[in-house]
């Protein structure tokens, strides 16, 4: 692989006669060609492997997790406490509660450490104490010289557990927040990034919430005290510490402060983990006169970090639009056409949510249409043509090298580990990612990219001075004006069913395992590739055979006539002695969907770990799938599925029996229609004849 890239460089370097271009006091100087006249001849040293130190993980009695990474090279200690409460906990009408509560821990302080006293003491010691909130977490961080750590940590713990929210500091914080709101459109680059996401997710989505002046005016100190009381606590908390400390001493300190910290009382708020599936391009235009450069953003639904396609998509991102100057987007937009200073395209995954695919750039107003078309064609070209071996190898090597440098201080090592563990990802996540990446071939990358990127569905967001665009945006599609100042009362833009999220996904995972165990065992269910059963509804009786994941065959008696119908990924048909009728595409899609949320499909998919699982309360499971399915399960005390709820309706299961080692339903009722159904004669992995599923040849 190296040989190939070196050969390629051979071709690039033209022959030249040494020619003086630099003169030194009248003498001409020529650069030596020497033995290394070509880059390819430059020797390379031995590459060495290096195994990094790994933080130690300890769990306190109340579940609080601790990550420690001692590092004696600098006499500094850096400690962060992170909690599972964030902006998604903001109550309705109080957007900003999480963010400002965090800020006020520091600026308002506690009774023992009022804000001003903290300011002064920290300045005296050259130490820092900072608190902030993100979407899913709130955190407070202290950085100080090692001799100050005991004292500074005491301050951290006190303001975290016992903040007082004094009126004076509350009104200052609100004023500062209002100033921030007023300024948020000053920088077009960040304004466009933010508003493009809001347009994509829809204004009603919890991810689109922003602080607003009117709402900020309604805040009082009780709001912050309430938020703190209800949300700050030990559930899902993590403390990570790097620096010059003694682990035993430190653990003792941490236990003293945090082992008896209670869990908070609030119930989880609803937040959507799935990104919207956009169909057909929408174009949003945010018009502004004070710029001579247009910001352009393309958005599409993305994937989570643990999606099986993520390794391939990450590499696809490197080839298409990340990592320096040699990706396709940057090359075409900047290097070839000189349209922009920067351009990118990538999958931007999140830990818990799906994230987005984004392509972005900025160009002068007069080349807006050109850059839109250029970016679209770069993406299409990427999807439609092959990836050359050289381009592939270079991108992969660059990307893997980047891994090495993304942790060049021990603080970064710890932060990476803390991010993983805070979101309940496994320790070996990055190793796995590297391993899977090394196994990828160009075709894998393209397959994944094609699966997840359909340029027809991209949402386009443009912020600029449309009076100076060289062509009207209407030429690209339906234009939707984007008015930033509209309030959140915009109607009906987000019809996704909402999902609850626990503070730790581990509870959901536990419930899933319990469910599988109750139904007969995870392994047994995973080994089931097919199920057959008899179903009786009223007078009608059918025999069904299901091949996981998307094939179903149904035979029934219509009077004397036997009818067979089959649906599969490719299509659906119904056949009898009279003839064969095809399902039209709409029916086909609907049937596939109904199948995918039926008991057999859901149970088998659960065993294969295909859903993102979380638990909202006892005995309730929420499942979401990358194909957009969102399913709620209610379980019985013993862990059997009592009810399946989906946008199609609710189905309750009132009887179970053991069939071939699996607990499968015998009775159920459709809530909406009150239709009862009975099942029997379940077979697991029945013998199935392939021609059962073949399209009948003689009509």
């Amino acid at each position: 692989m190296r040989i190939n890239s070196l050969l390629a460089l051979f071709l690039l370097i033209g022959c030249s006669s040494p020619e003086p271009i630099l003169r030194q006091a009248g003498k001409s100087v020529s650069l030596p060609t020497g033995p290394y006249g070509r880059l390819s001849w430059v020797p390379r040293g031995e590459e060495a492997e290096f195994v990094p130190a790994r933080p130690v993980e300890v769990v306190l009695g109340n579940g609080v997790r601790v990550l420690l990474l001692p590092d004696r090279s600098r006499p500094v200690v850096d400690c962060t406490v992170r909690l599972s409460t964030g902006k998604w906990h903001d109550p309705r009408g109080k957007t900003g509660a999480a963010e400002l509560t965090a800020k006020l821990l520091r600026s308002g302080g506690s009774e023992q450490w009022p804000g001003d006293r903290l300011d002064e003491e920290l300045a005296f010691r050259g130490a820092r104490l900072e608190a902030k909130a993100t979407f899913f977490a709130s955190q407070i961080r202290a950085v100080c010289l090692k001799e100050d750590f005991q004292d500074i940590f005491g301050m951290l713990a006190d303001v975290l557990k016992n903040p007082v929210f004094p009126q004076e500091k509350v009104s200052l914080a609100l004023e500062q927040a209002m100033a921030e709101v007023r300024q948020r459109n000053d920088d077009p680059q960040s304004a466009a990034t933010r508003e493009a996401r809001r347009a994509f997710f829809g204004k009603m989505d919890s991810r689109s919430r922003r602080m607003e002046l009117k709402e900020l005016a309604t805040f009082g100190m009780e709001d912050f005290a309430d938020f703190h009381r209800e949300n700050y606590g030990s559930r899902g908390a993590m403390i990570s510490v790097v620096g010059d400390f003694d682990s035993d001493e430190l653990l003792l300190t941490l236990r003293n402060e945090f082992e008896s910290w209670p869990v908070q009382t609030a119930s989880a708020e609803e937040v959507v983990l799935v990104s919207p599936r956009s169909k057909g391009g929408r174009i949003f235009l945010a018009d502004r006169e004070d710029v001579n450069q247009t910001e352009v953003r393309f958005l599409l639904e993305g994937v989570r970090r643990d999606h099986p396609d993520y390794p391939a998509l990450r590499l696809a991102s490197y080839i298409l639009g990340t990592g320096g100057f040699t990706n396709r987007m940057m090359k075409e937009v900047r290097t070839v056409r000189g349209l922009a200073y920067w351009a990118m395209a990538r999958w931007s995954p999140e830990w818990l949510q799906e994230g987005v695919f984004v392509a972005a750039s900025a160009t002068k107003s007069e080349t807006t249409a050109e850059i839109i078309m250029t970016m679209q064609s770069v993406m299409k070209e990427f999807l439609e043509s092959d990836i050359g071996r050289k381009e592939f190898d270079e991108a992969r090597d660059r990307m893997l090298h980047a891994e090495v440098f993304s942790v060049d201080t021990s603080r970064e090592v710890l932060t990476r580990a803390a991010d993983l563990r805070f979101h309940s990802y496994p320790w070996n996540y990055y190793d796995q990612l590297s391993r899977m990446t090394l196994q990828l071939k160009p075709a894998d990358v393209l397959t994944a990219a094609r699966r997840h990127l359909n340029p027809e569905n991209l949402t386009l967001f443009v912020m600029g001075n449309s009076a100076n665009f060289e062509r009207p945006l209407q030429e690209f599609g339906t234009l939707i004006p984007w008015n930033d100042s509209e309030s959140l009362e915009a109607k009906g833009e987000n019809v996704l069913p909402r999902m609850k999220v626990t503070e730790d996904r581990a509870a959901g995972e536990e419930l899933r395992l319990r469910l599988l165990a109750s139904h007969g065992g995870a392994v047994a269910i995973e080994n089931a590739g097919a199920l057959s059963w008899t179903s009786v509804q009223g007078k009608a009786s059918r025999e069904l055979t299901f091949l996981f994941p998307t094939t179903l065959r149904e035979t029934s008696m219509l009077g004397q006539d036997q009818q067979v119908s089959v649906i599969s990924e490719d299509g659906g048909w119904a056949s009898s002695t009279v003839g064969t009728r095809d399902m039209d595409s709409e029916q086909h899609q609907q049937s596939l969907h109904a199948l995918s949320v039926s008991f057999p499909a859901v149970l088998l998919a659960l065993a294969r770990g295909e859903f993102l699982v979380s638990s909202a309360a006892d005995q309730r499971l929420l499942l979401s799938h990358e194909d957009g399915r969102v399913i709620r399960l209610e379980l019985t005390e013993s862990g059997l599925i009592r009810k399946i709820s989906t946008p199609l309706g609710n189905f309750q299961y009132s009887g179970y029996a053991l069939f071939h080692g699996l607990q499968l339903p015998t009775r159920g009722i459709q809530e909406e229609t009150k239709q009862e159904e009975y099942w029997s004669q379940w077979q697991v992995n029945p013998t199935v004849s392939p021609d059962w599923f073949l399209y009948p040849t003689d009509g």
């Binding site: 590459e47 077009p188 040699t326 201080t409």
Partner: protein
């Protein structure tokens, strides 16, 4: 062949303890080795860390201040062009490309002269024809160019975070690489420094113009900063933005840039710093092998117009439909090793954190500014420069109020001096700040180069805590007193509505 990689980590070895009289920085200082080549190029090497990687950096003592009006933006633009390759890398056929590039330059010069009315009476038609000739000469030259070859070579070698930046005083190029690839870096850097061809010049001009639009024209703070800068200096080249005036960017050409490079990118003005798991002797050997032939040049900079003393306060307004902001600039002397820590301490007292003088008074007590921040040594430090402060007026209050109170606090500090407690905290604060700046290899590489070029020697980096010890309250009072209201520049940004004076 790449084997399964675990993620690497960069931890300084245990042997570099931080004991010792200088708070441990002595141990670090002892590891530094320096070599000066015959042509004056300096190489500083600091072995650091356990992972087999290193930070490489070239810092050149040239920047915006070496430009003339009419040619602003050259230094920064040259930095862009440095990545387009040399004769040996980036060309598909040098002999043909050379001819095509020269033809392109000629065609541009003709078109430029015609369109700026320097060729007497020329019809529009003819001007358009000259433009068309230029465009086709450009297309012809592009045929032979592979401008991304240099970047590709660096990233194939495993280079990461390759970037560069240009300031008023200096320009730096840096990248991190596995140590096994070190010789490759030397080869590529020698090409970059010694033999830049500056292909695709005219296309890159468009990119630089976009950068200007992004940083300044379409950016509220950027435009205010430029306005203040242009008012603070009337003669010295610090006046002109490093990114260049848009009109100058339109007319820069390749021969001008090659001339700039030849004049300023000389060995005596370069410092190469390498920090990582390297053997100094290996680095020096490679430096000898690859950099010895770079031309020596002159260590000193060109003469530039001294800024005459400002005789009265200047005010500049920028009207934009964005939220209001105030930016104040005071003149301060050039920042040398003698006063650098003094001014850093002054800055810390004035705007460093929520207990600082400005924050305490403006944000917490008077509540007339939502935020406060400051900078020392903008745009540069080699010649007399500026100390800046920015504030955000809260509704119902004006930028002028902020100016008044900021100056009051300066005067209070000048009269009363810092408190005993503040003086006592200087060393600790300086230590924390230094530890932060020296956390990463690339950070160390940058700090060593700056100290070598502008503080009188790289060693001064590790002596800063001792210097801080010697600061007195009087020193700080004097420095504060030097922030003269008669010599400040006030920049006010607000929308049209407020201009009802």
């Amino acid at each position: 062949m790449m084997t399964a990689l675990s993620f690497f980590v960069f931890i300084a070895p245990q042997i570099l303890g931080f004991g010792g009289s200088q708070d441990g920085f002595q141990a670090l200082a002892d590891e530094v080795e320096v070599r000066e080549l015959d042509n004056g190029l300096r190489v500083i090497v600091l072995p650091f860390g356990d992972a087999p990687v290193a930070a490489f950096r070239v810092t050149v003592n040239t920047g915006g201040m070496d430009e003339e009006l009419g040619l602003t933006g050259l230094a920064h633009f040259a930095e862009h062009m440095a990545f387009k390759g040399s004769r040996r890398i980036g060309s598909k056929d040098w002999a043909s490309e050379k001819r095509a590039l020269e033809e392109c330059d000629r065609a541009w010069k003709l078109y430029e002269a015609a369109s700026t009315h320097q060729l007497g009476n020329i019809s529009n038609n003819e001007i358009q024809q000259l433009l068309a000739s230029f465009e086709s000469a450009r297309a012809e030259a592009d045929r032979f160019s592979d401008a991304s070859a240099f970047d590709t070579a660096v990233s194939v070698a495993g280079g990461l975070d390759q970037n560069a930046s240009t300031g008023a005083d200096s320009t730096e190029y840096h990248v991190s690489l596995p140590v096994a690839q070190m010789e490759r870096w030397f080869w590529l850097t020698r090409e970059q420094l010694g033999d830049p061809v500056m292909r695709e010049f005219y296309k890159e001009r468009d990119v630089v113009m976009e950068e200007r639009r992004m940083r300044t024209d379409s950016n509220a703070f950027g435009s205010l900063l430029e306005a203040v800068l242009q008012s603070a200096f009337v003669a010295h080249p610090y006046r002109d933005p490093v990114i260049g005036h848009m009109d100058d960017l339109e007319y820069l050409d390749r021969p001008e840039m090659l001339a700039f490079w030849k004049r300023h990118y000389t060995a005596e003005r370069m410092v190469v710093t390498v920090v990582g798991k390297v053997e100094p002797d290996d680095v020096f050997a490679l430096a000898e092998k690859y950099f010895s032939d770079l031309p020596r040049g002159k260590k000193s900079r060109i003469r530039r117009t001294q800024e005459p003393a400002q005789k009265g306060e200047r005010t500049v307004r920028v009207i934009r439909p964005t939220s209001p902001m105030v930016l104040i600039a005071w003149h301060v002397p050039e920042i040398t090793k003698r006063n650098k820590l003094l001014y850093a301490a002054l800055g810390d007292l004035l705007w460093g954190g929520p207990s600082s003088r400005w924050y305490q008074r403006l944000v917490k007590e008077e509540r007339i500014s939502a935020e406060v921040d400051g900078w020392l040594g903008y745009p540069g430090r080699v010649d007399p420069t500026l100390l800046l402060m920015v504030g955000v007026p809260v509704p119902g209050h004006t930028g002028e109020e902020i100016v008044r109170i900021a100056q009051e606090e300066i005067e209070r500090l000048a009269a009363e001096g810092p408190t005993v407690r503040e003086m006592g905290s200087l060393r600790r604060r300086a230590k924390m700040e230094l530890l932060q700046r020296l956390e990463s290899a690339q950070g160390l590489a940058g700090e060593l180069a700056q100290a070598e070029l502008f503080d009188g020697g790289w060693e001064t980096l590790f002596q800063s805590l001792d210097v801080v010890e010697l600061l007195t309250a009087d020193d700080l009072k004097k420095a504060a007193a030097g922030l003269n209201p008669l010599q400040r520049v006030v920049g006010l940004m607000h929308d049209e509505v407020e201009v009802g004076l």
